[in-house]
């Protein structure tokens, strides 16, 4: 891979070089960790001690502070992956590959967390761990897509080649996710038109909204932090593999 070393390098191009990426994001990791920790401390304090219990659901409503941000991230991470996929295909940005690969397990984890907290919440409120409600179902399908993408990453030997193929699949998935969501909503209203449970009703008192808002940011920054750290690990892993191959060739020759 040749690197263009003209003096006018934009941050974009600078990030394109793995070594530069490591150097630049090195400064970011600790501030991100501290910011995330602070947001979580604040958010959890509000969530546990400074927000009222629901008059119907009692203390179980506090699951919402984990559930809603995870559910948001399960979709946001897919968006990040789709943008990275565009970066791979359109701009051939080397870090976009890495970003796409790093995001998939994170997205799967957040989606699984959204499902898990959703069913924990569903047990006391619906009386069952799993309800075939529109949201839960489309989140489950999203989890399957994430897991499929992770399986695809693992199946390829050559990660550079994998990146472009998976980028195409990710984009096709991105076109499909709204269709899946629409179809699942259509399906769930068809089968149970009466009681559709809504987690975030339009009217929510500020005492619930403020902690939710903080947790929202805390989770988003958690994702960003994990994404940056995972990308750094992946860059290093690739470097190690390259060095190992080189060493193997030199001893072999």
């Amino acid at each position: 891979m040749t690197i263009d070393t003209t003096p006018k390098m934009r941050w974009w191009d600078r990030l394109a070089h793995p070594g530069q990426f490591l150097a630049w994001t090195g400064y970011l990791v600790w501030p991100l960790i501290i910011l995330t920790a602070l947001l979580f401390a604040l958010g959890l304090y509000f969530a546990f001690f400074n927000s009222p219990a629901d008059y119907q659901m009692g203390d179980t409503v506090r699951i919402m502070y984990v559930h809603v941000p995870s559910a948001w991230l399960s979709q946001f991470v897919y968006g990040a992956m789709a943008v990275s996929a565009l970066g791979t295909l359109v701009w051939r940005h080397p870090m976009a590959d890495v970003s796409m690969k790093a995001a998939a397990p994170l997205g799967a984890a957040f989606t699984a967390m959204a499902l898990f907290t959703g069913s924990m919440w569903g047990r006391p409120t619906w009386g069952t761990f799993w309800e075939w409600d529109g949201r839960m179902t489309s989140t489950l399908v999203l989890l399957f897509i994430y897991l499929g993408i992770i399986a695809l990453w693992r199946a390829f030997d050559d990660q550079l080649r994998a990146a472009r193929v998976i980028a195409v699949f990710t984009l096709v998935g991105a076109v499909n996710v709204p269709i899946i969501k629409f179809s699942v909503d259509w399906w769930s209203t068809l089968h149970q038109p009466a009681s559709v449970f809504r987690a975030d009703g339009p009217t929510m008192p500020p005492s619930l909204l403020i902690p939710l808002f903080i947790m929202f940011f805390a989770f988003t920054f958690l994702f960003i932090t994990l994404q940056v750290v995972t990308m750094r690990t992946e860059v290093r892993r690739r470097r190690v593999i390259t060095l190992e191959r080189k060493a193997a060739r030199e001893t072999g020759a």
Partner: protein
């Protein structure tokens, strides 16, 4: 268009010469459907109620089963590399593949569907609706399937991967496919489902050859 029809002829000839493949697929479809009564019990009423779902699931699985034979043999004998150097664009070749995939793995199932409908005790009206929804929905499955095969063709042991990848994307096809049959939401909803199913098929057939061509071009060594 000489080359396009040439591919259709070649693939059909191969499918008919190796007639075993198509027969296996039909058998898989019929056996899957026929296994359900053993699992849920010979309750005629229950079976008749879930028959459209059974037929659709069986068709869905059977079409996913056939994916590995769609592009992998072409890759293994070097034909796929030559396709990329052909006069015809790769996307056109893959469009032909979608058609062939539908003709060899969906059409036989649709032809075998009456047998399954009979043993599951479907009433005639439901049966005709099932046939219609299969006819409208299976092109989308063929298109998604071709895309899945293209994504996994470069992987040496990608046999089971394509079905795993494609199944979640095909959820809408299944939903609208069965929704177009079952009288749950009333005739209005069933009609809407039928239209949505047709829209899905059209869109998938139009776009998937291009997506599949991208995946092959960028994924091949």
């Amino acid at each position: 268009m000489n080359g396009f029809s040439g591919i259709l002829r070649r693939e059909l000839r191969l499918a008919l010469a190796g007639g075993g493949d198509m027969l296996t697929l039909v058998l898989f479809f019929v056996i899957t459907g026929a296994l359900v009564p053993f699992a849920v019990g010979p309750d005629r009423e229950l079976l008749a109620r879930i028959a459209p779902g059974i037929v659709w699931i069986a068709a869905f699985l059977a079409m996913l089963m056939g994916l590995d034979r769609l592009l992998r043999p072409d890759r293994e004998d070097g034909t796929l590399a030559l396709y990329r150097l052909a006069d015809l664009p790769l996307s056109a070749i893959l469009a032909a593949k979608v058609i062939v995939h539908w003709l060899t793995s969906a059409l036989p199932l649709i032809l075998a569907a009456p047998f399954l409908a009979l043993i599951l005790g479907m009433d005639p009206q439901t049966f005709w609706r099932t046939l219609l929804s299969l006819l409208l929905g299976t092109p989308a499955l063929a298109a998604f399937g071709t895309f899945g095969a293209a994504v996994t063709v470069a992987i040496r042991r990608g046999g089971l991967l394509a079905p795993i990848l494609i199944a979640p994307l095909c959820v809408p096809v299944l939903i609208f496919g069965v929704g177009a049959i079952s009288p749950l939401g009333g005739p209005d909803q069933a009609g809407a489902a039928l239209l949505l199913l047709a829209a899905l098929s059209l869109m998938a057939c139009a776009l998937s050859p291009f997506a599949a061509a991208f995946a092959i071009d960028w994924g091949e060594e």
